[in-house]
Amino acid sequence: MTIRPLDPVQALERMMLIRAYEETLIDLHGRGRAAGTCTSVGQEAPAVGVVSALTADDLILTNHRSAGHLLARGADPGRMLAEVMGKQDGYCGGKSGSLHISAKELGVVLTSTIVGGELALATGVGLSRTMLSKPGLNQPGIVACFFGDGAATEGRFQESLNLAAVWKLPILYVCENNQWQAFVHRKETMLADGISGQAAALGVESAVVDGNDPLAVFDAASSAIDTIRRTGKPFLLEAMTYRLRGHFEPDDQGYVDKAELAHWRDRDPILCLRARLEREGRLTADGVAAIEARVRAAMEAATAFADASPYPGLDALTTDVYA
């Protein structure tokens, strides 16, 4: 298949929107207007890189750090903010909060905040893709399942990859290895340097990519997706990245090694891509300013929308329990 290229300037703008969204949320929380949240600051590249490689028919399962995945998919930041603030116009009517936003209209299914829960459900979504795919469809939809290195220490990781391999389910497992498992560094809970090594033992092909370079992620994801569409088999892509903020806002990161944090701040995916595009002459200072202005305006509009949205009526307490 032909891989449509990723426009690096558009990728940068999308990453900047994700960063601005999460910074807005942190600010709203600081002012007591939104609940605390788990951000994905520093992890914008895997979100934009992988989601840009998907087609509209593909489905996404994600986890508690989902804002990047949703916004990369084109979610409306106003409806996202409204959801986090518990408002009626949020994607889930205010019932999800920040941790479990799903948006059927965007193909974002079943955001799970039980760590590893998305891995258990992904096989089922893959199964329905397989069972319900129309004959003659030359590009049947795949399933992208985002999880972290913490989820990879759960038994469900092994169970999920094993079943997906045995049943040949079209799942792109995306491990955003951000080095942190809540308040515990990955090196404290696993001896291996990454998790992709486990894939081969389960019969799943894998690749590792620089998770702070959205263009590299896009290329790796496109290639993985092409393999999945050709073979019908699952694939594991491990994106090595870093969680630049704490586990849950607010978090002083007192437990984080200062030198390690500094090292990864120098590799901030947004700053690095911007510098590269400026260096290559593909983006001017005016261009950057224009993006910043657009992102700021989008977040101002989003905040105004969320502010204006009413809280759900109290009858919503017991609606949507059963279909």
């Binding site: 019932k95 999800s96 479990h100 799903s102 039980i114 979504v125 329905s128 069972m131 469900r156 279909a323």
Partner: protein
Amino acid sequence: MTTMTVNDAISVALAEEMRLDPTVMIFGEGVATKRHDLLAEFGAARVRNTPLAEGIIAGTAAGAAATGLRPVVDLLFAPFLCYAMDEIVNSAGKLRYISGGQFKFPMVVLAMTGAGWGVGAQHNHNVESWFVHSPGLKIVMPSTPADFKGLMKSAIRDDNPVLVFADIALGYSAGEVPEDADAIPLGKAAVRREGRDVTLVSYAKTVGTCMAAADTLAAAGIDAEVIDLRSLKPLDEDAILRSVAKTGRLVVVHEASRLCGVGAEIAALVAEKAFTSLRAPVLRLTGPDAPAPASFPLEQAFVPQADAVVAAVRSLVAEPATV
């Protein structure tokens, strides 16, 4: 009218529903091996063996249900649901609500429960009330082959997760099943025997215990009404209250242990809504707060017996009237 066992009734219901709806499928450990008739008729895509991993089986069902299939999963023995608790309770039961009603979860979880095979506590544990206590689920626990068939059909057609507990001692019990019988609605109790003096409420194998007790009581001139709940959630409150309004006395009989069991709920329901009808205290006859033993006589002693029901009713009838 055909005579068949409970096990056959479940298979017949599955076959009929799979014929009607191509999205119905079944998977679980040994399913394709044991239900070879289904495998022969519907093929290996719709009748699948799985690894021995209840969590991924249930999670796969939840993911598949959310995206267009109607899976039935066989998790074998009820205590194994502990391994699948997260997927059943946190995912299947909650994600409709969390998503603001965007997704539905039309799935069925089958499991064997109760005494009868001497299989010991890790294979024999009546866990139904755990799931009754969890929002978003429906729980069925029938007592006759006809009900198993009719309720399985409803469970498969229902757009919500339904747990069907099959009492192991009933598996090979036979009964008449009308050939043209269709689905039996969830949430409707059956009056197995009409009576004026006392209401015996039960479900699964202890319905038979209550029927035997009612025969003995009838010989002594005490007229017992026997109600088979069939569905524990939704619960047919009207059937219970209507009967107690008539008889003024209630004994609840089940094999699961007493503390926070279904009997506690029924006793509280009657205390709240039919207090003035009561002519005697509500009694519960249940299994003990102990793991189930493997030794056959101990296992039988675990289950409330007909003579205990008779004794309980006699103690109530001897109570002086309170109104």
